[in-house]
């Protein structure tokens, strides 16, 4: 069971454009819709490779860290796993439901209360309404927001906001969790609670990918670390 790869990247390349106005992209896109042709694989003017020839596997229940400077392709990998974008070349296999916590609270609305946002954000992360109804007590308790849970989140402090977002995220019933720079949430108490929660997720066979600049923190929680630079994997750490 434990050696099933739940995420498999095989020779993945991803191209991005630097240009603001994409005069060609829509035309290309429409042409490829009509002719069924794949998009061009070579670089055109103003384009660059965000990922070059990335291959790795992640097994069920593993915790993998992605480490590297800005622009090394960490977030692009998470976006590819969560199906937000697609690879230019190569194959990606992802098995199971993904909870992409790429930015905490991306789906929060300031005018809605904590409870309302739990439903909003929870369904965005792939939970069903009935699942959320069952879990709502747990989420509220974990966030430690008490009476503030019925207050619009625009009245929250930034710490409270992040705590709520994190609680929603880690209580989602996904199989794969993606965290982007979200380890530094809340005070020390809340942080240790978070680390415990990560351990629980793994104990239930959840797979975790963490992106961070903080190498020491990654070493503390991850089984393996993928070192990225300029869109390639350094040191060839095989996972």
């Amino acid at each position: 069971m434990l050696s099933d790869p739940v995420i498999k990247f095989e020779k993945v390349w991803k191209k991005y454009s630097k240009q603001q106005v994409l005069n060609n992209s829509l035309r290309d896109e429409l042409v490829s819709v009509i002719t069924g042709r794949k998009c061009r694989e070579e670089l055109a003017e103003g384009e660059f490779w965000a990922l070059r020839d990335i291959s790795f596997n992640v097994n069920r229940g593993e915790c993998i860290g992605l480490y590297g400077p800005n622009g090394s392709g960490k977030s692009t990998i998470l976006k590819l796993i969560s199906n937000v974008t697609y690879p230019t070349k190569g194959d990606i296999i992802v098995q199971g439901r993904v909870a992409p916590l790429i930015e905490l609270g991306a789906g929060m609305h300031p005018d809605l209360t904590g409870i309302e946002n739990i439903y909003m954000n929870g369904t965005i992360l792939g939970s069903s309404i009935s699942e959320l109804k069952r879990r709502i007590g747990e989420v509220v308790e974990f966030s430690g927001l008490d009476d503030f849970i019925n207050v619009p989140v625009k009245k929250y402090s930034s710490g409270m906001y992040l705590r709520l977002a994190f609680s929603i995220a880690v209580h989602s019933s996904a199989d794969i969790f993606l965290f982007d720079e979200v380890l530094a949430v809340g005070d020390e108490d809340f942080q240790s609670k978070c680390l415990k929660r990560l351990a629980t997720i793994r104990a239930h066979n959840g797979t975790i990918l963490v992106v961070s600049h903080d190498n020491a923190a990654l070493h503390r929680i991850c089984d393996n670390i993928l070192n990225l630079e300029h869109g390639t994997v350094l040191q060839g750490e095989s996972i």
Binding site: E29, A106, L112
Partner: protein
């Protein structure tokens, strides 16, 4: 026809529900009169048109009571313009969701169609009160409203998806759509009747599916007459083809939205 479209929407039906529910909550939060706005908007437009065309300009519209005539036209129009207006910026405005999390992108514009349809139904209930007030006889021909509503929703959905997708690529679409909606308002017989139009222009106006929908909504409710079947078949076929073409293209290009938005 394309079952995968409905399958993937079905898998995300809870998200669609939550989006609709969210829009409803946001719209009426911190408002004093809440849902009454849904009635106030079309009713005030109807009163305005009645005043201008009935009292000031003293035009006659097929001997229908003015209020019924304008209300029947205003309701589909506010639905169409409300939904498409919402849709244009629905994807580009939610770029923080679109670039971070995957879900079928049509859910956001569709939630706009849905909330505007709820408003429409509330307006329709008020319209029926007006029909009662003018003691218009209720006939079986009212059932023609059902295919008309389906056509109205399908057409509005197609235009909404098209505008939402195009605005991801070109923000010009937002600017153009405001102007196009004004244009389309006059190309739809909301404040006039198609019978007053010269035959040469009639065919041109019927290229706009809203013309057919508005005219026949008046016909089946106020006059209690049925729809001409071949006209219904032709319009329905046109709308269905438009819908499936747009939806297909939308699904094909949606995976690139996160990269270009």
């Amino acid at each position: 026809m394309d079952s995968s479209v409905f399958k993937r929407l079905y898998a995300y039906k809870d998200l669609l529900l939550v989006f609709i529910w969210r829009e409803f909550l946001i719209r009426y939060k911190q408002t004093a009169i809440g849902v009454i706005w849904a009635i106030l908007q079309p009713v005030s437009l109807m009163l305005l048109f009645t005043f201008i065309f009935g009292v000031v300009l003293q035009t006659t519209q097929k001997n229908y009571p003015y209020t019924l005539f304008y209300f029947a036209g205003v309701l589909p129009w506010t639905f169409f313009s409300g939904a498409t207006n919402f849709a244009v910026t629905s994807l580009s405005g939610n770029f923080n969701l679109v670039t971070k999390i995957y879900f079928p992108r049509e859910i956001i514009p569709l939630s706009g169609v849905a909330i505007n349809f709820i408003d429409y139904l509330i307006g329709l209930a008020v319209y029926f009160l007006f029909l009662l007030f003018y003691s218009v006889p209720l006939t079986w021909n009212f059932l023609w409203l059902i295919p008309l509503l389906i056509m109205m929703v399908l057409y509005t959905t197609s235009v909404s998806l098209l505008l939402a997708a195009l605005n991801v690529y070109y923000r010009d679409v937002k600017l153009a759509s405001t102007f196009l909606l004004q244009f389309l308002f006059f190309a739809t017989p909301v404040i006039y009747s198609i019978d007053a139009v010269d035959n040469r222009w009639k065919m041109l106006l019927f290229l706009n599916p809203l013309t057919f929908i508005v005219e026949n909504m008046r016909r089946v409710t106020i006059e209690g007459r049925g729809i001409v079947l071949w006209q219904l078949a032709a319009e329905l076929a046109g709308i269905l083809i438009f819908y499936f073409v747009i939806y297909r293209i939308f699904i094909r290009i949606e995976r690139a939205f996160a990269d270009v938005i």
